[in-house]
Every structure is written in C-alpha cells, then in structure tokens.
Symmetry: C2
Subunit: 296 residues, 2 copies
Amino acid sequence: MIGIDWGTTNLRGWAFDDSGAVIAARTGGQGISAIAHGDFAGALHALIQDWTDGSVPIVLGGMIGSRQGWREAPYIACPTTLAALAAGAMPIDTGIGSGWIVPGLSYIDAAGVADVMRGEEVQLLGAEMSDGIAVLPGTHSKWVTIAEDNILAFRTFMTGELFALLQTHSLLGRLMATPVPGTGPDWAAFDKGVRRALVDPSLTALLFSVRTEGLFAHLTPEALPDYLSGLLIGAELAGVPKKDAVTIVGAGPLATRYDRALTLAGCTGNRIIAGDDAAARGLWRIGATILEGIAA
Amino acid sequence: MIGIDWGTTNLRGWAFDDSGAVIAARTGGQGISAIAHGDFAGALHALIQDWTDGSVPIVLGGMIGSRQGWREAPYIACPTTLAALAAGAMPIDTGIGSGWIVPGLSYIDAAGVADVMRGEEVQLLGAEMSDGIAVLPGTHSKWVTIAEDNILAFRTFMTGELFALLQTHSLLGRLMATPVPGTGPDWAAFDKGVRRALVDPSLTALLFSVRTEGLFAHLTPEALPDYLSGLLIGAELAGVPKKDAVTIVGAGPLATRYDRALTLAGCTGNRIIAGDDAAARGLWRIGATILEGIAA
C-alpha cells in the first residue's frame, strides 16, 4: 500500500509492506496550492510512479480532499470512528492505481459552534489511541477527545497563526528581537506567559503585556517571542478538557513547548508522538480498513 | 488657554475662553510620527500661531510626551488623581508661549502585570467622572476604574489592533467580504459573536468559528467582519469589572458597538461621551489645575 499526505504546501509519500512497516518514504515540493491546471495526477506520478505497477492501492489524506483539492471528500461528523472515516473515503482513479481520498472531520458543540479538521484526523488515527485527550499543535491546534475508539469531539485554537500574525504585523512585533541562533527558547519567559494565561482569561489584555514587559525591561527583546508563545499556549490550555496525561502529536520543538506548558498546568504524564510517524501510521490504518471493507 | 492633543498620527488644537468654553478648534495633519528632524515647534506654530501673542498657556497631551515625542513626561503610577497628573506635567518652551506636556499613566496589577496609557488619560479626565467604570474603545481599548476622584486601576485590551490584523492578514480575512456601503453593521452577526464570547473564555478557539460560520454558510461573507467584531468585544467585556452602567468615551460607531455589547452583558444604563469633546475638556481641566498650582 502507498500512503500520501498532501497538504496545502507539502506532499509526502510512504510505501508500506503487507504488515504496515514503512519500506520507503519520499518528500515532494508540490502542495495543492502549487498544482497548476488541476494536474494532481502528474504531481503524484512524479513523486511515486516508480513505487507501483498500477496494482498498489493508494490512500491520500489532507487538503487534497478539500474543495480546492483533487476530489472533495465531505466532512464526517463527530462522534465517529476509524471505520466510518474509511467508509467515507472517496475513490479516485489516480492513473497509476486505485486511490481513496480520506475525508475530514466536522463537529458542532453544545453551543452550536462548528469546527472542522482536514489532515489532522490521519495523524490522530496514527496515534492509535483508544481513550484520552490528544493535541495536534500547529498553526491551528486541534484538541481531540477520544473514548472507546470513538472520536467524540474536537476544538481548534488559532494559536500558531496568531503567534505569527502578532510577531510579524503587530505593534508587539516591533519590540521583539530575533533570539540568538542555537540558544534555544527562553524557558523563564515562556513559563511566565503560560502561568499568567492559565489563571487570567483575558488574553487580549495579556497580549498587551508583551509591550509593557519590553517597555519596563522586565524581559529582553529576545525573550518576548517566548513570552508571547507562552501566553498563547497557556490560553489554549486554560480552555481545554485536560486529564493527567495528554498525547501530543507533532514536531519536536513545538511538542516540547506543549509538554512543558501542560506540566505547568498539572498534566505530567504526557506522551509525544512525532507527527510524521503518526501521519504514515494513520494512512496505513485507514487504508487497511478500506481494503478490509472491500474484501468483506 | 490652548489645548493640544498630539498623537502618533494626528494633531488637534482647541482655544478656550477663561470659563473653559471652546472658542476655536483646528485639526492639522502632522502626528508625531510625521515630524521631521524633531521640529515639533514648527508643526505647533503652523497649527495655532495666529491664536496667541505668546502669553497664552499651552497644554499638550498624547504621544507628544513619549520617548519619541517633544519631551518625555514619565508615567504617573495609579492610583492617582487629576492634581497629581497636573503636578507631573513637564514644562516646555514652545517658542510661542509656556507649555506643559501631560504625563501618561502606569498601573501594575496584583499579578505583577504592568500596563500603560498615554493620551487616553486626557479624555478620561474630560469625562469628569468621580466614580465608576469607563471604557475608551479603540486600537487598544482602556478600561478604567475610578472612585472618589481617584483613578484606581486600568487595563488595556488589544481589541482594535487584533480586529485589523485578523481582517487584513489572517486566513479568516480571506473569507470576508466588505459590507455594502451605507448598510450599517449586521447586528445579528455582531450579537452572535458577543454572546458566544461572553460565555466561552477560549477566544483563540472562537476565532476559528469565523471560518466555520463562513464555510457552512451560517453567516454571509459580508456579515463575518461584524461577527469577528462581536467576538473580540465580547471577550473584552467578559474580563472587565462591570457595573450597571459604564461610561463610554469614544467616536460614534464604535461607542454604539460597545453600548450594544454592554447591554447584552447586562449593563443597560451606559453613557456615551464623544472622544473629541472629552479630549478638549480634559486638556482644559488639566491646564486649569496646572495654573492653579502655579498661582498657589
């Protein structure tokens, strides 16, 4: 089987043996926003044509299933399961074998607020959780509640996008200096931000303290980005259902920040799963479930 | 007496008679960020030279007293009073008469978070409140608590700046359409945002609902800016000390939004004071107090 993670700006493929072990991995440059004239087939062929004689099933996840992608795979509403997600996959002729595009997830909370994810559900299923709370940190962090193999609910926080916006375009960014390369985060500044945001619900007021911390030289210009990061992650943690341990699915440095912030919030037994590994494993699990469904 | 409100991007002057009534008003184009070679005197002369023979006292408030201004007037720490603010004004020879630059205010809350204002303190004093809660909406909204003529505490919310950032630079902005000119705000969308933010403390998650409200066509693209405005103002109101009535000092349309949001939050007897009138009145009150101090 071949698994493809195809996002807005990235394209990655994995080849699996029959047991689900990764036997090859490849990264391409063409996210869906870079595909001209809808030639998704051409980009896929360029990436993995030499992996298949046309008989290998191909599972594709991510923004490739959005309205801007190859074929739209409508959202599956939560609560839902791996089996329902596999059943909702949209078949597609890739030109180099049968393909299935994984749908995204939607959720409407008790207050009627709607939420969506597309791509993260693959990583989530790759984490192989039966019960618990998972966070997938990033531009739009996703917090997911799972019980007895059901994906019950999730919520998106615009943490990463807000960090980038405030650093790049706001008055706050003008006070910041770039941290010295190789020095790592200023954890004291980060912790200060997390602690304040955990107990103070007025984030839009706390954000102004990035300015005053700089103005009164309580923090150095180099420390302000880490303070801002702590405020935003702390505000995120203040509003999510937490248990003793959270599963963090993501890349190293950001996962480390979330683990640290969670520890400050009282969650000490967290587990970190690399996002790439989770994406590959999730594509395999979904693909295996699709093929079981066809065989049955 | 002459009063000057001199901000980063604007310059305004008022001439007062001996009773404090405004007898002339003028708006110039040179905020302090547009002044070349530190020639603040030249810009002031161009605005109001014909109003004075050199014997009229001139009171200047706003960013003109910042480090980037004409002469720095250090922050006065809250709790404080009109008298303390007047006593802290920095004398300056304007070249066309004696001048005084009004200081800004600072405040450190119980958690050690510092805050500052510069310019709003003039409008605040112009509102002539002895007791109560005032809000000065804007790019950086200020909420102020006053008791027995003492300015006890204040807090800044980056509401206006966040609105502009999210509309201009974020993923959310791409879904928004410009409202049709002349139609006024979509109050149903605004109210929806306010109500949600009043009860849900996770603003960074609610912000993502601007996307889903558009994606699922719950709101039109033209309504999304008002929904976002409601979310941000609602989140601000959720975190401030409110009483039955709040004094709103600001320009018409924005003051109307705050009055409406406050009403949804249970504050129904609000008073709106035009920001321009408050600035003029505040400069007069501070100037009169300075002159009393000199005479005494």
